[in-house]
Amino acid sequence: MERESSRKKFALKRLPLEEYFSPGHRGCQGCGITIAFRHILKAMGPNTVIAEATGCGQVISSPYPQSAWRVPWIHTAFENAAATAAGIEAAYKALMRKGRIAEERINVVALAGDGGTADIGLQALSGALERGHDLVFICYDNEAYMNTGIQRSGLTPFGASTTTSPAGRFSKGQSTWKKDMLAIVAAHRIPYVATASISHIRDLYEKVTKAVEARGPAYLHIFTTCPTGWRCPPDKSVEIARLAVETGVFNLFEIVEGQKRLTYKVSKRRPVDEYLKAQGRFRHLTDEDIAYIQKRLDEEYEELLGQSGGPVGGY
């Protein structure tokens, strides 16, 4: 804990005072996305352009005639944040080369939720990564289609009850495991891939900086609590995100040029039921279900430890 607090101090000291994501947006209380956006932009600075997919983060930040964005921002559709950002990146490249705008570093960012990344946006993401655009794709993962009313996505975790994967007499909620987006992205052999969480701001801040510095595509997958959809108290938002890391539900790591490294090692992982029982979406799970989830998480963590320091994905 002592180490934790010293980290916090360090992070707070380093955080710029400027706010590029303004207060007054329409996020729910305890919304993890807005915590992520605020700190991503602090790390990136004002020379940043964002293409955002349809979703929670877009709807809460851009109700005409208001906007929470103090950097240039565009929304075009749901499935194409990566393609829109790719067009922006190509335009700057051409205009700078042809002397039509000043040469400078502009961070081009594609922003999408879990659905806009892993489901409907996967093709555009793959295309942009494969073509090697110099952009950062950021997935804010709140583990379901929250904006449209908590429908399941390919990143909804096993056992979560959503409005389209409801728990019931013949259902334990979501019947599938989270799609392994990090492995999919890493298989494109891009320079930088990382996970981050709103509970570990210094780690997030450093990863955003690295993603921006990488030449070529970078991918960040950020764990963002959704109290509304996860059925948990808004004031527990950050706490639950922290529990996800400390139980091994969501592990913090990065893959740099193919080398995987845990960036936050949990000395003693806490049991997963602490995490599950804090949220209404897992309320229906039996001890047996929880034991199954624990077993799979243990296996995944062992696998992750084995990979750490070694090559992964498509490398």
């Binding site: 352009v49 293409a51 565009i74 929304h75 950002a85 790719a86 335009a91």
Partner: protein, 391 residues
């Protein structure tokens, strides 16, 4: 100095794009558009065109790239055909709503199913209401001219709408014709660099594509419609300047022997070339017939059409698109609507023909015009007739 050259029309289109000095091209290959993107790829590879060329993984992404690029302030081009247009259709509406002057060559191809790679105009008709300026070219020279004109018109501050130039798949895209290619100075003098007032610029942050609640949406849409319709005046102005500079005139309709015609054949695209021969043959037989080839589809030149076609007894519309389950060809129906409150207007007879690359011969056009006249005079008129179908 301009030069006259025998060129495949797809190459003429690529020449125009290169002369427009586009900054970004984003496209996905699809028959019969492929020759355009191949020619452009070659130009970029050989250093003859300084542009970023995004080889998108789908048409949806290609149009999304175009939107991002245009929003960032770059002159942007794409090309597609049939099913590719259908896949990008969601983004066509977005490009127009965001008022981004992307230019597209649409190589008209039919929509599946059954699968067919051949040409007709069912693709463009499926996105009639997407808010783009739409031109129809009849030959290679028009493809070249209209492509350059499209950038100038789309980027005009009074317009700021995306524009597409339609050319018939294979019948135009793969045809070799003599085309007068303008030189760099001529194009530069006509087409100034694109310098948008609003673009994604970190030094002047803007929010584009905000979501509009119901209390704003209708107002924004009304303005979009009014401004697209008033782009008509800029189109005429730019065409006028084109004629002064380069000697070739453009109008919403290109008319042939229609002055005193009782029957006017109206259609869009390459087949109008064949139709001209049918007009001559029927004139020899003593029938007063003429042709009107539609060049501008959106904004819909309603008043121009009413004025130009209103004196005829019959307008025989040949649509190369079928409104399945509707009642008649799309151009015929819009013309009927245009005439609905005009007294003593012509009868509009609707034929659907030339689907999926099926040729219409001179005799076919002659027969349709004769039939149209007899439908109008003697018989009960069908909603529409599909011409040349085997029973």
């Amino acid at each position: 100095m301009s030069r006259r050259e025998g060129l495949e029309i797809s190459a003429a289109c690529a020449e125009a794009v290169a002369l427009a000095d586009v900054d970004v091209i984003a496209a996905y290959p699809i028959t019969p558009q492929t020759h355009i993107v191949e020619h452009l790829a070659r130009k970029v590879a050989d250093g003859l065109l300084d542009a970023e060329y995004i080889l998108a993984e789908s048409e949806h992404s290609a149009m999304s790239c175009c939107i991002g690029s245009s929003a960032a302030g770059a002159r942007t081009f794409t090309a597609t055909a049939g099913p590719g247009l259908a896949l990008m259709s969601e983004m066509l509406f977005v490009a127009s709503g965001l008022r981004l002057p992307v230019v597209m060559a649409l190589v008209n191809r039919t929509l599946s199913s059954p699968l067919s790679i051949w040409g007709d105009q069912s693709d463009v008709m499926s996105v009639r209401d997407c808010g783009w300026i739409v031109f129809f070219a009849e030959n290679g020279q028009e493809v070249f001219d209209m492509t350059i004109q499209a950038f100038r018109i789309a980027e005009d501050e009074r317009v700021l709408f995306p524009a597409m130039v339609c050319l018939d798949g294979f019948h135009l895209s793969h045809l070799v014709e003599p085309v007068e290619i303008l030189d760099r100075e001529e194009v530069d003098s006509f087409l100034p660099p694109y310098n948008p007032k609003y673009r994604l610029d970190p030094h002047n942050p803007t929010t584009m594509g905000a979501f509009a609640p119901p209390e704003f949406f209708s107002e924004i849409k009304k303005r979009q419609d009014e401004e697209l319709r008033s782009s008509y005046h800029v189109i005429l102005e730019v065409w006028g300047e084109w004629e002064k500079r380069f000697g070739r005139s453009y109008a919403p309709l290109s008319q042939y022997r229609s002055e005193d015609a009782e029957v006017i054949l109206l259609m869009a695209g390459a087949f109008a070339g064949t139709a001209r021969l049918a007009i001559d043959r029927l004139r020899e037989k003593g029938l007063r017939v003429g042709l009107a080839s539609l060049k501008l589809w959106r904004p819909f030149p309603r008043e121009y059409l009413v004025d130009a076609l209103g004196r005829a007894e019959v307008v025989c519309v040949v649509d190369r698109a079928l409104s399945v389950g509707g009642a008649g060809g799309p151009i015929a129906n819009e013309l009927r609507a245009a005439f609905h409150d005009v007294a003593d207007c012509p009868r509009v007879v609707s034929f659907v023909a030339g689907l999926s690359g099926r040729d219409i011969m001179v005799e076919g056009f002659m027969e349709m015009m004769e039939k149209a006249l007899s439908y109008a005079r003697d018989e009960e008129m069908p909603y529409y007739e599909m011409y040349g179908v085997r029973e």
